[in-house]
Structures are given as C-alpha cells and as structure tokens.
Symmetry: C2
Subunit: 369 residues, 2 copies
C-alpha cells in the first residue's frame, strides 16, 4: 500500500540485518519508523502495541526469531532460541499467531545444517515466507471479495458502493492489503467507485486513527462516523455492505471481533444489508464451535474508556472524559453469531458461515482436531 | 436533585428577571452557572448546547419567550414575539418540545389583556407552569417506572437490577428527575439495589460526562461503558432492562432519540431484554405516524466526531482523534421503530408502543390534529 506515494509494508528486513516497522502508536498524528535490532526490542514492540493485528504480530514474531538466531550463542544455540520464542509468545498471550510463527521458524532452525550461516539463512527465509504468505493470503482475500463489489456495482447501475467497516482490519493489521480492507482496495484499484463508512471504534479508536489514515493515504473516499451511527445509515439505505475482520472464528462460523461488531451485524440483518467477515484461514479456531460460550473475551483496562488520546495542535495528549469517581468496564471483543453473517471471505474463496461450507473450503479440518 | 448536598433544578427565574441555567458544556469537569438575559442568549444557549435534552430545551424556550415578551416593542408586539419564537424553534430541529413550549407561551400572550404588565405576568406564569409541569411529569414517570423495577427485583429474588441507558435523559435533560433516570432514582430511593450501565454516548459523551456525573452525585452505583459494549453485556445476561429517553415519539410509538439508541433496541430484542422509552407527553408528536420517514434528523458538525473534549489534569482541552484530511459525518439522532419497544413510560402510566394503547392514555389526541 502507498504512504505519501511510496510503497510500504508494515514490516521489512533492512540490509544491516535489523527489522523495520511502523510504530503505529503515533498514527494518525505522525508516521514513525522504528528499527528492531534484537529480540528484546521485538518483544517490547509487540507488548506495547507498536505493532498490532493478528497477521502483523505473527510476522513480527517470525522476524524476532531470526534476530534470536543471530543472538544465540554457539554453545547452547537451541536453549537460547527457545528462551527467545517463549519471551515472544508471552507478549500477547491470547494471540495464536505468535506461537504459530515462532514455531515455524524454530522448526526450520532444527532442520537446517548445524552451521551458523545455514541457520541464519534458513530463519531469514522462513520469516520472509511467513511475511510474504501473510501478504499473499490478504491479496487473495481481496481478489475473492472484489467479486462482491463488482456485483453490487452492477446491481446499483454504476453508483458508488458504500461499505461500512469496524475497527482496523487494514494493511496495518497485516503485512499488506489487510483482511476487511483487501476487497476495498482491490475494488478501488479496479476503478469501482467505493466509499467507506469508518466506525471510529471506541475505546481505542482504531477506525478513526488507523483505518481512516490508511484509506486516506491510498486515496479511497471515506467518512469517519461514531460507532452509534451505522444503524441509522443502514435504515436510510446508505450502506450497501458491511465487511469486518475477525480475531477468532469457530468451525460453525461464529466470529469474535472488536467490541461493537455484533451491533452492526444486528443492524445489517434488520435492514437487509449483507454482512461479511474477512479472514485468513489462520484466524479459524478449529477446536471451537459455539463462539458465544467458548471464545474467551479479554477485559481490558478501564482507563481505555476513561481517557482518550488525540492531538491538541501542539502534541499528542490524553484527556479524561468521565467523572473522577465513575468506574468503567472495557470488554475488548464481542461474538457475532454465525446466523447474522452473510458470508466469510477467505483466501480460498467466499463461503457461508456454516460448518459444512467452511470445511468444504478447508477439507483438512473436516474433523475437529 | 442534589449537587454536593444542595438542591438544584436545571433552570430557574432570577429575581432580576433573568433566567439561570447550568452551563452543561463544562460537566463533569466544572459546575458553571450562567444567566440568560435576552432571547438571543437563550437561542445561543440551546443551539450551542449549554442546555440540552428534550424537556429542558422546552422549558428554556418557554423562558426565552418570556424574555421575548420583555424585549418586544409596543408597535408590533406579536410580530416581534413571533420572530423570537421562530428563532428559538430553529435552534434544534429534532426535538418537538421547542415548538410545543413556544406555542404555549404565544397562546397565553394572545389571550392576555393587551397591556404590557398583563402580558409579562401571563408569559412568566406560563413559563413557570411549563417548568413545574416538566418536573411533575418526570416525577410521575418515576412513580410509574418504579413498578417495573419492583417487579424485576422480585423476579430476580432480590438481586441487583442492572439497567442500561443511552445518552442523558436524566434530570440535566429536564427540569428535575429526568425521564429515563426518574424510575432509576425512584427505585434507588426506595431501597431497590440498582446498577446502571452508562453508555458513554459518542460523539458528545453525554453519558460519560452527564449521566455518570448525575448518578455519582446521587449515589447510584454505575459503570461507564463504550457504546459498543451493550450488545455483548446483553448476550451474557448482564442487563435486565434498557430505559432511554426520547426527543420525539410518533402516534404509533416510533421514537427518535440520540444516535445509537436503535442499535441497543436491536440488541435488547435479540436477547429478550425489555426495552422501555420514558417520556413526558410533551415529547409526543401527534401529527406524525411513521417516525423513520417523517422525523427530521439533525446533522451536526463533523468536528464533534473529529475532536473530543476532556480534562488533561491541568484543564479542559479538545484533542483531534482523526487524520486531518478525513471527513466525518454526524447524524445526531436515530429512530427506533415501535416494534422494538417493549413499552412507553409516561406521566400517565406505562403503555405499549402502539397507537391504540397510546391514545387510550391520551384520549384528547384520538384524532390526529
């Protein structure tokens, strides 16, 4: 994706062996690039959310394992890299992508010839494969989702297609393209007129600060709205489809995503608006069926509700919006039941949010593991 | 209601003929009293939301009409007061209470003897009647709504009753007691254990800044949540009922209220949670049936979305949360269709959101005027 006209990914290797990232904590107020030179700085970048999003933290952990191999001593090479893997996996304990990516790099290190150069080359190649694989899955989601936009564009006789999205499932959450945004970028790039309603996504405002910024940089017309507004827009025919990302999707198609997603799904159903969830297959949890009962919901700090961060003209500041004595609660995710989801957009195609349809696309998972 | 132990209403006449209000823009960070001395300052106080809420802007418009009568010239008295009435009614398009209150004062001015003193006395008496009537209607709403809490409290075998509310339909939105909060205060004062989930209510945060502050001052247990969270709480059985206010309710029971109310009504329906709208009869628009088609929805400034105001430890500041180039849209209200409303809590009792049930309570309005 382009930023100020230049192509960027969210993570990249530098010639000197360090790893470049965009420190997303500063967006949309500043575009700050950071170089990670050792495992500790990688762990800190994930834990403190310089990088966030399922796909991106997986890729970051993979590059962290490459740096771990560089740092490891000759005497206890696997002891050292395993300690680094544990450190990386502890940064965000709920995200499955971390252990998946760290495990992949560990496996190639074990399979490589026991020579320093061979090991580093293998780790680097695997981190590149994970990074490129993430971008490729998202590109493929874009390809499959594009058909939905073409169809809507034709049915609306060439009028602008209005899509609503919640939170940031954009390229900033992955290596490139994003999940929910991939079909949007693909449609825009294919010349289909698209306009995006961007839910600001309280409490952390990932929509207002990240999705709006991404879309603006890529030249996609968009309008930021409060999370309260989407239902009203749907009642008045101003939303043609909804696409969100997901943090975890069960075998039967229940989707955990940023808090508030469920409310948009209800409004979409009430107004006959198609509601899609876009995800790479790494987001499926093949062991779970009933998302509402089984998916654990992270309760985050009340201060994310009580304080809001923004730019006051001079710099970035936090302001308190609640009375000092009022408690706050902050569930981070909710679960949208499969019955409210029109379809899932995956790298292998679009399918219904039903177990039979999902395992038809992913036959390796016909039996719960 | 009490603030720091002292009894307050939201609007009152001063001995010098001016009108006192609480400038609510400063809450919860500061308690600021303002004096309105002429029609223009009244119109500005309503438009810029020093005062807000259906009942309170009605009462403020009534006092504005009293000030209008004081300012009107002898030569074209009714031309002058009618221009003032038009100015006041244009300040906020969605709430019906403005034209209702201005019309009441106009009517008594026309009926009064054509003498300056008699007209001023009549206008003042009517403004007082509207103000006292608003407080009395809200007290009565509290009385009728209390029965719902008693019933839930018994059915839950004495457990805490969890109620969710959106925006501020508290005493700050009326002259006293509030509409949605009146049953909550009545239940709390009657010793029923109540806990309130307070939607922060973006973009203006009336929940986080006003409802939380009110409830805290009165000692009612409450927790502030982002607007995205209510559906999740209902899915997990943590909300026993929802009560909101309304800015305009049609003959068939469709209710315009703060943007986002519709989403909570959908979630309540999906989870079998009773959803009530509390309103004094001054909020009915007897000329309208189909709220979704007929009620005008105010589009407010995009800057209310782009900037958030809070306290940074030193003072109150606005911070920008969106990228500089991203547009924003800000519809102020949405319409909840009657089919999603369990019942209306009015000063004459609780009734179904159906025309037959509504006009049975208000037989004067059996025929659309």
């Amino acid at each position: 994706v382009k930023v100020d006209g230049k192509s960027w990914r969210t993570i990249w290797p530098e010639p000197d062996g360090s790893v470049g990232i965009i420190d997303q904590r500063h967006l949309p107020h500043a575009f700050v690039v950071e170089r990670l030179t050792d495992v500790l700085s990688v762990a800190r970048a994930i834990a403190d959310m310089h990088v966030r999003g399922a796909g991106l933290i997986g890729a970051t952990a993979a590059w962290g394992m490459y740096l771990a191999a560089r740092e490891a001593g000759e005497r206890d090479f696997f002891g050292d890299v395993e300690r680094s893997a544990a450190l990386l996996c502890e940064t965000r304990p709920t995200a499955v992508n971390l252990s998946w990516a760290a495990g992949r790099v560990l496996a190639v290190l074990r399979a490589a010839p026991p020579l320093r150069e061979a090991r580093l080359a293998a780790a680097r190649a695997e981190a590149e494969a994970i990074t490129d694989g993430d971008a490729a899955m998202c590109a493929s989601i874009g390809h499959h989702g594009l058909a939905l936009f073409r169809d809507l564009h034709e049915r609306r006789s060439g009028a602008v297609v209005n899509v609503l999205t919640h939170c940031n499932a954009g390229w900033l959450a992955f290596v490139d393209h994003g999940s929910a945004t991939a079909p949007i970028y693909a449609a825009h790039d294919a010349g289909i007129p698209v306009h995006v309603w961007v839910d600001e996504t309280r409490p952390r405002n990932q929509g207002a600060s990240l999705t709006a910024w991404e879309l603006g940089q890529h030249g996609v017309p968009h309008t930021v709205i409060v999370d309260n507004a989407g239902g009203h827009l749907m009642q008045h025919g101003r939303v043609d489809l909804v696409i969100t990302g997901a943090d975890r999707v069960t075998r039967q198609g229940d989707a955990a995503n940023k808090i508030g997603t469920y409310l948009k799904a209800l409004a979409a159903r009430d107004n006959g608006v198609p509601f899609y969830v876009a995800l790479p297959s790494s987001t499926f949890d093949w062991r779970m069926r009933d998302g509402l009962r089984e998916i654990p919901i992270e309760e985050r700090s009340a201060d994310e509700v009580r304080f809001i961060t923004g730019h006051d003209g001079e710099g970035v500041r936090s302001v308190r919006v609640t009375p000092p004595g009022s408690p706050a609660a902050n569930p981070g995710f909710d679960v949208t039941p499969a019955r409210l989801i029109t379809g899932l957009i995956t790298e292998r195609g679009v399918c219904a949010a039903r177990e039979e349809a999902i395992v038809e696309l992913f036959p390796d998972h016909k039996d719960p593991a």
